[in-house]
Symmetry: C2
């Protein structure tokens, strides 16, 4: 079976508010958008921000909660890139969850929640390579 | 800013129970594992299954909830691959959330929750291409 994730879909309450975080904060460009979903083309997978009620209807399950027991990470090339990005994401409607510091396992990272309380780790991890297409490879 | 997600980290309660779902259900191979985390090398990003209390400590935030307001998707090559994979994931400790059917926007999909109630959509989406490395590209 291919070790492959096609989409990460985040349930959101307000499309414009969420769009501002991803477009102004991260500086990402939508690949598609309509009145209930925005797709961003990522590194070999899609990120979708989808009206939460529509996501619940599609799943056939209601009562999805936040903050969910997960985190997404965006790794940056240099240690000094972490804090400015956290601040820019906070300016675009995010909330700093943890200020950047150095974890025991190495590197440097902080956490910011998007406007719907989905957590993003912004990390510098020198052991993991990121190529020019954004493809991330595990390393120790 | 690179349109790149480096890691999806899922908070889990029982590493062995979760491992069974991903290794026996999906058939994926860990790239790294210790007593609190397993990493899987995916299509240009990592999937981590991490002890939930350790994730909360790393984030500096407690009380992460499930089911969270998100879904992950694994797309398959053929419509007829969807239902057998849902069944195999259910046999490996998952719970079917929605039986496979055809949504209005096209394709074919169902949902299964992993043992920690994280939702996976198993989908056939003929508009999106998947290359031999698992890289997924948006299409209409």
């Amino acid at each position: 079976m291919q070790q492959q994730i096609s989409v990460i879909t985040l349930g959101i309450a307000d499309l414009a508010r969420s769009r501002r975080f991803y477009v102004e904060g991260f500086g990402w460009k939508p690949a598609f958008e309509n009145e209930e979903i925005i797709f961003y083309q990522m590194n070999g997978l899609m990120l979708g921000t989808f009206d939460k009620k529509a996501l619940e209807a599609d799943m056939g399950r209601s009562g999805l909660l936040a903050p969910g027991a997960f985190a997404l990470a965006h790794n940056v090339a240099r240690r000094e890139d972490v804090s400015p990005l956290l601040l820019r994401l906070a300016s675009a409607g995010g909330t700093i969850v943890r200020e950047a510091d150095a974890p025991l396992h190495g590197g440097y990272r902080g956490y910011v929640a998007d406007p719907d309380d989905h957590a993003w780790e912004i990390a510098w991890n020198p052991a993991w390579t990121i190529d020019e297409n954004g493809s991330v490879t595990f390393g120790l």
